[in-house]
C-alpha cells in the first residue's frame, strides 16, 4: 500500500476509535469508573513512551521512571492550583510545566549518572527514585501546598477523555518522529553498540542525555495528566513499585517497539480490573494470577509480545536512491 494512504487510514481508524469510545461514554455503557481507568491508561501510555525512548530505543536502563512522573504530577498540580482561575489555560500551562520540570530534573540528574552502565545505571536511578519519594514526603516543610506525606489535594480535575486521547496521539507522533530522525538513529546506534557508535562519530554522552531528558519530559507530561485525573496526589503513587510497573510495560511490550509500548500500556492499565471481573469470588487470587501471567508471557516471548514488530503506519518509507533504480533498469 502507498505510504500516504496507510497514514490516512491509520489516522481515520484513530478518529473512528475515538468516536466509538465517546459514543459508548455518552450512551452510558462505559460508566465514570471505567472512564477514569481509560484516562489512567492514557497517563500510563505517555509515561511508558518516555521509558520506551530511554530504554527501548537507547538502552539506558531506568528503575526510577515513576519518580519523574511524580515530579511532573506535583509540578503541574502546584501550577494549576496556583493559577486555577484561568481555567483551561491553567491546565494547558500545567502540562507544559510538568513536562519541562521533569525534563530539566532529568537532564540535571542524567548528566552525572548516565556515565554508569546497564545494571548500575538502573540502581542509581532506583536510588534517585527513593530520594524523590522521600523528598515529596517531606515537601510540605518547604511548600505547604504540596501536602508532604498527607498527600496533595485540590488540583482542578479535567475529565474530558478527548484531552487525554489527543495528548497520547501527540506523544506517539513525537516519539515516532524522534526515533526516525537523525538523533533517534543515533540513539539506536548507542543501544546496539556504544563503542561502535562512538567510532562513527555519534557522541554517546550527548545522545544518552538527550534521550534521557526527552524520556523524562514525557514522563512529566504523563504525570501532569495524572494530577488532573486523580484528585489526590501521594508520594507513594510514584514509588519504586510504580517504576517497576513502567519497566514491565515497556519490556513486555517489546524493547524497541512503539506499537508494543502503547498496546501493553493500555492493556496493563486494565488488567487488574479485568482480573476482578473474571475472578469474581476468587478475587483474593488476583495478585498470584497477575504474577503467573507475567512469568508465563516473558518465558514464552523473552523479546516482548511485540518485540521486533512495529505498526507499518509508524515506520517511514525508505526513499530509494536514484542510482539503485538505475542499476535495476
Amino acid at each position: 500500500m502507498d505510504k500516504k494512504k496507510q497514514v490516512i487510514m491509520a489516522l481515520a481508524s484513530v478518529l473512528v476509535l475515538y468516536a466509538v469510545l465517546e459514543a459508548l461514554m455518552m450512551v452510558g455503557i462505559v460508566g465514570p469508573y471505567w472512564q477514569e481507568i481509560m484516562r489512567y491508561a492514557m497517563v500510563v501510555t505517555i509515561g511508558a513512551l518516555g521509558l520506551s525512548i530511554m530504554y527501548g530505543f537507547t538502552g539506558q536502563f531506568s528503575l526510577g521512571h515513576a519518580a519523574f512522573v511524580g515530579i511532573g504530577a506535583y509540578a503541574a498540580g502546584l501550577f494549576n492550583l496556583t493559577f486555577r482561575h484561568y481555567g483551561i489555560l491553567a491546565f494547558l500551562g500545567s502540562l507544559v510545566v510538568g513536562a519541562v520540570v521533569a525534563g530539566v530534573v532529568g537532564y540535571l540528574i542524567g548528566v552525572p549518572i548516565l556515565r554508569l552502565k546497564s545494571d548500575y545505571l538502573g540502581i542509581a536511578t532506583l536510588g534517585f527514585g527513593f530520594i524523590v519519594t522521600n523528598g515529596l514526603q517531606n515537601s510540605d516543610k518547604l511548600i505547604p501546598a504540596l501536602g508532604g506525606a498527607r498527600g496533595m489535594t485540590g488540583v482542578p480535575q479535567v475529565q474530558g477523555f478527548g484531552w487525554y486521547y489527543v495528548l497520547v496521539l501527540i506523544a506517539v507522533i513525537l516519539a515516532r518522529n524522534f526515533i526516525f530522525s537523525t538523533h533517534g538513529r543515533a540513539c539506536t546506534a548507542i543501544r546496539e553498540n556504544e563503542t561502535a557508535a562512538d567510532v562513527v562519530g555519534v557522541s554517546p554522552a550527548r545522545t544518552k542525555i538527550m534521550a534521557f531528558t526527552i524520556g523524562c519530559a514525557l514522563a512529566g507530561l504523563g504525570g501532569a495528566l495524572y494530577a488532573h485525573n486523580i484528585p489526590f496526589l501521594h508520594p507513594d503513587s510514584f514509588n519504586f513499585l510504580e517504576s517497576i510497573n513502567y519497566l514491565i510495560v515497556v519490556v513486555l511490550g517489546g524493547l524497541g517497539s512503539l506499537t508494543g509500548t502503547v498496546i501493553t500500556a493500555v492493556g496493563w492499565a486494565f488488567i487488574w480490573e479485568v482480573l476482578r471481573l473474571v475472578l469474581g469470588p476468587l478475587y483474593d487470587f488476583r495478585g498470584v494470577i497477575y504474577a503467573i501471567i507475567l512469568i508465563v508471557i516473558i518465558i514464552m516471548r523473552p523479546q516482548g509480545v511485540f518485540g521486533g514488530i512495529e505498526a507499518s503506519c509508524l515506520v517511514p518509507q525508505i526513499k530509494r536512491r536514484k542510482t539503485h533504480a538505475a542499476a535495476g533498469d
Binding site: 549518572i113 554508569l116 545494571d119 542509581a124 532506583l126 536510588g127 523528598g135 498470584v288
Partner: protein, 294 residues
C-alpha cells in the same frame, strides 16, 4: 560518647542482618549476572517459617532456624528452576522481569489467608530477655545471637567457597559458563546449589530479623531486600567480602542518620551515598573496574 557507641552497636545489628541477605544477592549476581528481585521475598518466607517453627510446631529456636533455612533453600531452587532457567540465555532483562514476577508471586501467594495471611504479626522472640550493660552500652542477647550466628555462617561460607569442590565449581562458573562446562563442571547443578546456599542464608537472615525487629508481614521483603541489595552493590556486587562490608556500612549509615539527622531521611541518605559511591567507583568499593575489550 556512650550514646554514639550504642548507635554503633545498633547499626551493627542491622548491618549483620543485611549482610546475610546481601550475600545471596551477590552470589547469584556473581554466577548468572541476574538481580534476583525475589531474594527479598525468600528472606520474608524465612522470617515467617522460623516464626511458625517456634510457635506452631514449638521447635527450639535453633531448629526453627535450620528449618527456615531448609524451606528457603527449596523455595530458592524451585524459583530458579521455574522462573530463571528457561531464560538463562535470553536477554538479561527478560530474566529480570521474570524475577519481578517471581517476587510478586511470593508476596501475593504468601499473603493469601491460608498461607501466612495479609496481616501484621507481632513476634515474641523465643529467647530469654537478657540485657548486659557494659560501660553504659546496652547489649541485648538478640544482638549476641545475631553476631554469633552470622560470624559462624560467614566462616562456613568461606570454607565452602574456598575449600570444597562445590565451591571451586561455583567460582569457575562465575568466571565463564562455557569454560566451566569444558572443565567438566555441571553448570546447572552448580547454579542450583548457589541458589540453595544464598536462599538458606536469606532464610537465616529472616529468622534473625524477626528476633531483632519483631513485626512481620508478607511485603516485608521488598524494602529490606532492596536495602540489602544496595549494600551488595555498594561493596561491589559479585564479591563476597564486598557484600558484608557494604551491609555493615549501610547499617551504620541508616542508624546514624536516624539518630543524628532525621529518621525520615534514613532511606534518602542511604541512597544518596549509594549514588555518590557509584559515581566515584562505578563497580563498588571493592569492585574491580573491568575494561571493555573490543
Amino acid at each position: 560518647m556512650i550514646s554514639f557507641i550504642q548507635q554503633i552497636v545498633n547499626g551493627l545489628q542491622l548491618g549483620l542482618v543485611y549482610a546475610v541477605i546481601a550475600l545471596g544477592y551477590t552470589m547469584v549476581y556473581g554466577i548468572i549476572k541476574l538481580i534476583n528481585f525475589a531474594h527479598g521475598d525468600v528472606f520474608m518466607v524465612g522470617a515467617f517459617t522460623g516464626y511458625f517453627g517456634y510457635t506452631l510446631i514449638k521447635l527450639p529456636w535453633p531448629l526453627a532456624l535450620v528449618m527456615a533455612m531448609a524451606v528457603c533453600a527449596i523455595v530458592g531452587v524451585l524459583n530458579e528452576r521455574i522462573a530463571y532457567r528457561p531464560l538463562r540465555y535470553a536477554a538479561p532483562i527478560a530474566a529480570l522481569i521474570s524475577a519481578i514476577g517471581a517476587s510478586f508471586f511470593l508476596e501475593y501467594f504468601t499473603s493469601l489467608k491460608f498461607v501466612f495471611g495479609p496481616d501484621y504479626i507481632v513476634i515474641h522472640p523465643p529467647v530469654p530477655d537478657i540485657t548486659w550493660i557494659i560501660g553504659g552500652v546496652r547489649i541485648t542477647i538478640v544482638q549476641v545471637i545475631i553476631l554469633g550466628t552470622v560470624v559462624v555462617f560467614l566462616a562456613l561460607l568461606q570454607l565452602l567457597i574456598f575449600k570444597t569442590k562445590m565451591g571451586a565449581a561455583m567460582r569457575t562458573v562465575s568466571f565463564n559458563h562455557d569454560a566451566a562446562r569444558l572443565m567438566g563442571v555441571d553448570v546447572d547443578k552448580t547454579i542450583s546449589f548457589t541458589f540453595a546456599v544464598g536462599s538458606a542464608l536469606a532464610g537465616m537472615g529472616g529468622v534473625l530479623f524477626g528476633f531483632a525487629y519483631p513485626e512481620l508481614w508478607t511485603f516485608l521483603g521488598i524494602m529490606t531486600g532492596l536495602k540489602a541489595f544496595i549494600a551488595a552493590v555498594l561493596g561491589g556486587i559479585g564479591i563476597i567480602p564486598g557484600a558484608v562490608l557494604g551491609a555493615l556500612i549501610m547499617g551504620q549509615v541508616e542508624i546514624m542518620t536516624a539518630a543524628y539527622i532525621s529518621s525520615q531521611a534514613r532511606d534518602a541518605v542511604a541512597f544518596a551515598i549509594l549514588i555518590i559511591v557509584l559515581l566515584i567507583r562505578p563497580s563498588g568499593i571493592l569492585g574491580r573496574n573491568e575494561l571493555e575489550k573490543i
